[in-house]
């Protein structure tokens, strides 16, 4: 968490010479270490699953394998090697772009991921855009007069947004619109953004709205709190006394200075969406990365789950890192510290 206030001289560290001391570099190194930890955790987690890839593939027929056949299969899957060697082997192939092979789909996991990830990113960006467009103005409106009518309404709406589970919103939207109005674009085969943009956007509409309802709530709250905090500061009064117009004051002076917490919250939500859209992708049959993990779990495709979870964590860490770097750009005070 960055400290937006200027540092007091007492806390100013002596300038550490060299690249390692640079805050951006140390954040990067931290992210790499975290990802390594993620890889270890994912690997260990999947080794804890009862049974192995052989029983998962063959089911009850695995019992009929002769010892020699089983040994051959274990050698094929690399299960006869020590765990550390298996881990390093997996890590090495992941780093060279080999995420494994999906036995069911008969496609490499990399190809599956390259199809699914852009779909989830598109959904996440649409949902975030919708919720920022709705949440930031509502939050500013609510902050204008605390405990006024718009504020009370906004607080109520954001409480409801926080408390409505996405799977409920999605299910109700889908049921009502398809049954009452015959509107169910997600009933057809999924269309890619570049294959059929119109159908694609129709199919993305309901999932994006479902997600946006949940995400606008924290954005409204964060915006309101940040704007209230900044609004009372001296420079706002000075600007107003100087005769700055109300609209310009709100946008250029108040919002700009309230931006860091809003960007942090938006970045955090974007990160969650990359892996947290599982439920909504499932309801609306959007073939994104979350659905890929869910299918992998249901079909016991360990290679698929292992690599996909790692990819999602990578995206999550990257988004958080970018958010961090972004508010270095937005707020010169962060850059100084």
């Amino acid at each position: 968490m960055a400290d937006p206030s200027p540092r007091s001289p007492r806390r100013l560290r002596p300038l550490r010479a060299g690249l390692l001391g640079h805050p951006v570099v140390s954040r990067l190194l931290g992210a790499v270490a975290t990802l390594l930890g993620v890889a270890v955790l994912v690997f260990v987690l999947l080794r804890l699953v009862p049974g192995d890839q052989i029983t998962a593939n063959l089911g009850t027929e695995a019992a009929a394998l002769t010892p020699a056949q089983r040994q051959a299969l274990e050698a094929y899957y690399g299960l006869d090697r020590p765990p550390l060697e298996q881990f390093l082997g997996w890590l090495g192939s992941v780093l060279t772009g080999n995420l494994g092979w999906s036995g069911r789909a008969q496609v490499s996991v990399l190809d599956l991921t390259l199809q699914a990830l852009p779909i989830t990113v598109e959904l996440a960006v649409l949902a975030i855009a919708l919720s920022v467009l709705v949440g930031v103005p509502l939050g500013m409106l609510a902050a204008r007069r605390p405990n006024g009518v718009p504020d009370t309404l906004g607080q109520g709406a954001s409480l409801l947004g926080l408390s409505l589970p996405a799977f409920l919103i999605g299910t109700v939207l889908l049921s009502v619109l398809s049954y009452r109005f015959g509107f169910n674009p997600n009933g057809q085969a999924f269309a890619g953004l570049f294959d059929d943009p119109v159908r694609n956007l129709q199919q993305m509409l309901l999932p994006a709205v479902t997600l946006a309802i949940g995400i606008s709530a924290p954005i409204i709250r964060t915006t309101r709190a940040a704007v209230l905090e900044v609004r009372g500061l001296d420079f706002v009064r000075t600007a107003r006394a100087k005769g700055v117009g109300e609209r310009r004051l709100q946008v250029r002076h108040v919002l700009r200075n309230a931006l860091v917490p809003i960007v942090t919250m938006t970045g955090l939500q974007l990160g969650y969406l990359l892996g947290g859209a599982i439920v909504v992708e499932q309801i609306f049959s959007v073939p994104g990365i979350g659905r890929q993990v869910l299918l992998g779990i249901q079909q016991k495709e360990y290679a698929l789950v292992q690599s996909t979870v790692l990819v999602i964590a990578l995206c999550f860490v990257l988004v958080n890192l970018l958010t961090d770097l972004l508010y270095r750009l937005i707020d010169p005070r962060v850059r100084l510290s």
């Binding site: 969650y272 599982i278 860490v317």
Partner: protein
């Protein structure tokens, strides 16, 4: 789904009459009343004090609308929906309370350790916390439940693991600032055992932050359990869960609206109750007394 508790001042629970201050706020009073009502109804159902058993099927009276006999109507097997919804609420509460209890105890202990003793323990604990934070919460819960055997307790454990890092981070931050306060330094200078200092002087002064997160984490835990059950990876059937009730209602909602309405309303009410309590707690404990 995140909480930003700024640990700038020690926030204790003693001497402040927190319960009263929470209940005097409209949000706190409504949240507490709602929660007590739901918990009592769920308890009555679990103890078998109500008219119907959630598991008993009665095919001739299937998909009946709300009536004097079946207040919430019946489902596609003729089971009483009120009984099923209430036993689902009981299940939700059980999973959420156990999950948050585990994560609060473990997370607070680790946070105190990392914040107070620093150095190696801080490095190790914060490292693991960062790794857990690198997973979107829903994904981690999903991965864990798929690994563990499925019953309500393992679901609770999976949810607990997801929320431990939040408690670690909150407690660690608060401990770092409390450690600098004079009375803690005074306790240290008397030669008291470090663990005694932590338990007697640091813990009571970070407890406020923890309590706020507990209330919010309870609301997230209810949502996570319901979402897992909706995906078929939460509390296994035949036990009713709010998520699986809504999943089942997808096929019956067109002919029997009540099968979706009542579980939906109940899950929202439960989450709202915890959110209201959390908001009231945060306001009541905010040292700046900001509205």
């Amino acid at each position: 789904m995140s909480v930003e508790v700024v640990p700038d001042l020690p926030v204790g629970l003693r001497r402040q009459g927190v319960t009263g201050r929470v209940l005097r706020r409209p949000a706190g009073a409504v949240g507490a009343a709602l929660l007590v009502l739901l918990a009592l109804a769920a308890l009555a159902q679990s103890l078998g004090l109500l008219a119907f058993d959630p598991a008993v099927q009665d095919p001739p009276s299937r998909l009946q609308g709300p009536s004097a006999v079946h207040w919430f109507g019946t489902d596609q097997f003729g089971r009483d929906l009120l009984a099923r919804v209430l036993s689902a609420v009981a299940n939700s509460l059980r999973v959420a309370v156990v999950a948050v209890l585990i994560s609060a105890v473990v997370g607070t202990a680790l946070g105190l350790l990392a914040g107070y003793f620093g150095r190696g323990s801080d490095l190790a604990i914060s490292g693991v916390t960062n790794v857990l934070f690198a997973f979107p919460p829903m994904l981690l819960a999903l991965a864990l439940t798929s690994v563990l055997a499925r019953n309500w307790f393992t679901v609770a454990v999976a949810i607990a693991v997801v929320y431990v890092p939040i408690f670690v981070r909150t407690t660690r931050g608060a401990t770092l600032s409390v450690r600098q306060v004079d009375f803690v330094r005074a306790a240290v200078s008397t030669g008291q055992h470090p663990l005694a200092t932590v338990v007697r002087h640091v813990l009571p002064n970070v407890a406020g932050h923890v309590v706020v997160v507990v209330a919010l984490a309870l609301s997230w835990a209810v949502l996570t359990e319901a979402a897992l059950s909706f995906l078929g990876l939460g509390t296994p059937p035949p036990a009713a869960s709010l998520g699986s009730l809504i999943l089942d209602a997808r096929t019956t909602v067109f002919v029997a609206w009540w099968t979706m309405l009542f579980p939906g309303v109940l899950v929202v009410l439960l989450v709202i109750a915890f959110n209201l309590l959390g908001d009231a707690l945060r306001d009541a404990l905010d040292p700046r007394g900001r509205r």
